[in-house]
């Protein structure tokens, strides 16, 4: 017994070190996406507030750029309005017009963002109170951003394209072949499109858009352009995609609510 005490006394610092290190490793190992979002939830109220204030300042500094972006978007929307006017004039009433909401867009702001890590997350200032729930899509004016992972009353965390857990079905615009988009953790400007079979003709600089195969995003949201491709992995292409969204300055986003998501999922569940 005495030797045990002597041992503990002698190596107390080393034992303390082992203990603390074990705690840290347990945290890392147990850190699944689910627990991560729960524990962050505890901290979200505090850090959410601080980052909200911080972002106020940063947003002010980039007002000019935001203005330009808004003006561009205005122009685009006005153009679309004109085209819709033509439709309406010709008195063709399509079902989409009678059943107004398929997708609805909720505007939101980024209050917390990271781009340099392997598992990046974004926090938005919209939550359940504003109609933002788990598994809703998030886009910016530039293109695809990510998917809502967890929502509290006033905040939501988003898993962006530049997170190694992210997976989404996307397609090439020229030939409609769909594959899986994921991120390999190198540069926040590039992602990889996998599972395109070797016989497909790939066009460089081709545009990549969402495929609409999930109930999360509508078809045709811009994702990026093909930068390069190779056949390294046997029967499938590995296509490097330049993302249109610049995650390093992301402030305003739109969250997509799909009013027919439930219906679609229910039907699919019944069919299975």
């Amino acid at each position: 017994m005495r030797t045990l005490f002597r041992f503990i006394q002698k190596y107390s610092n080393f034992l303390l070190f082992l203990f603390l290190e074990t705690v840290a490793v347990v945290f890392i190992v147990q850190d699944s996406s689910f627990q991560r979002s729960k524990i962050i939830g505890l901290n979200r109220q505090v850090s959410g507030y601080i980052y909200h204030k911080m972002n106020g300042a940063r947003e002010y500094l980039s007002l000019r750029q935001t203005n330009e972006q808004l003006a561009l978007e205005n122009m685009e929307l006005r153009n679309r309005l004109d085209r819709i006017g033509l439709y309406l004039d010709s008195a063709v009433v399509r079902s989409e017009f009678r059943d107004p909401y398929h997708y609805q867009y909720v505007p939101g702001r980024v209050v917390r963002n990271s781009v340099f890590k392997q598992y990046n997350y974004i926090t938005l200032d919209r939550g359940k109170k504003q109609g933002v729930f788990k598994d809703m899509g998030v886009i910016s004016d530039e293109g695809l951003v990510g998917i809502v992972l967890e929502a509290s009353q006033n905040f939501a965390t988003v898993i962006p394209v530049i997170n190694r857990d992210f997976r989404l079905s996307v397609k090439m615009i020229s030939n409609n072949y769909a594959g899986i988009l994921q991120w390999e953790g190198d540069s926040p400007r590039f992602a990889v499109l996998n599972e395109i079979p070797f016989h497909v003709n790939i066009v460089e600089k081709d545009t990549i858009v969402t495929s609409g195969f999930s109930s999360i995003f509508p078809e045709g949201i811009q994702v990026g352009t093909i930068e390069s491709f190779s056949l390294d992995k046997g029967n499938f292409f590995e296509i490097r995609v330049k993302l249109t969204t610049d995650f390093q300055h992301l402030f305003h986003v739109n969250i997509i609510r799909n009013y027919r998501q439930e219906e679609q999922l229910n039907l699919e569940a019944q069919t299975r």
Binding site: L20, E21, I28, R36, N43, V115, F116, G185
Partner: protein, 167 residues
Amino acid sequence: MYIIGRNIVRFIVVILFQVLVMDNVLINGYMIPYVYLLFILLMPFETPHWIVLLSGFMLGMGIDLFEHTLGMHTAATVLVAFLRPYFLGLLAPRDGYEPDSFPRIHYYGFLWFLKYTLLVVFLHHFVLFYLEVFQLQNFLSTLLRVILSSALSVSSIVLSQYFVFRK
């Protein structure tokens, strides 16, 4: 008593500075200077080892909570906190460290401080980055990130000695 108070204030300031300012400094989208190690580096020589360990743990936790990287900064920081006395022993001048002095450029010169910072920062970044990637697949590209980030952190920490902690 005065020193304890000063260290507590420094603890808080270092975390806030790291999270609010330094995390927004991104170079190439790859590198970020982790200056919060300053706190461990600048603790007085005679601080009991267990206090260094515990404050390393709390410091890592504080950063982890803000960065949403549960446990990674904690593991890396606790390790360097544990090894700090051995590093100090390794770099000790022939007559040992003088009483009433602190581990700073002001007392032991630029070269000494650079070596000390390099050891601590490189080890910390090495552990941190490999824990983050958690695979040996891209061993070299991760190593490159470790080296570049270490260089950036070390230079920020050394510069801080001339601007903030002059005496």
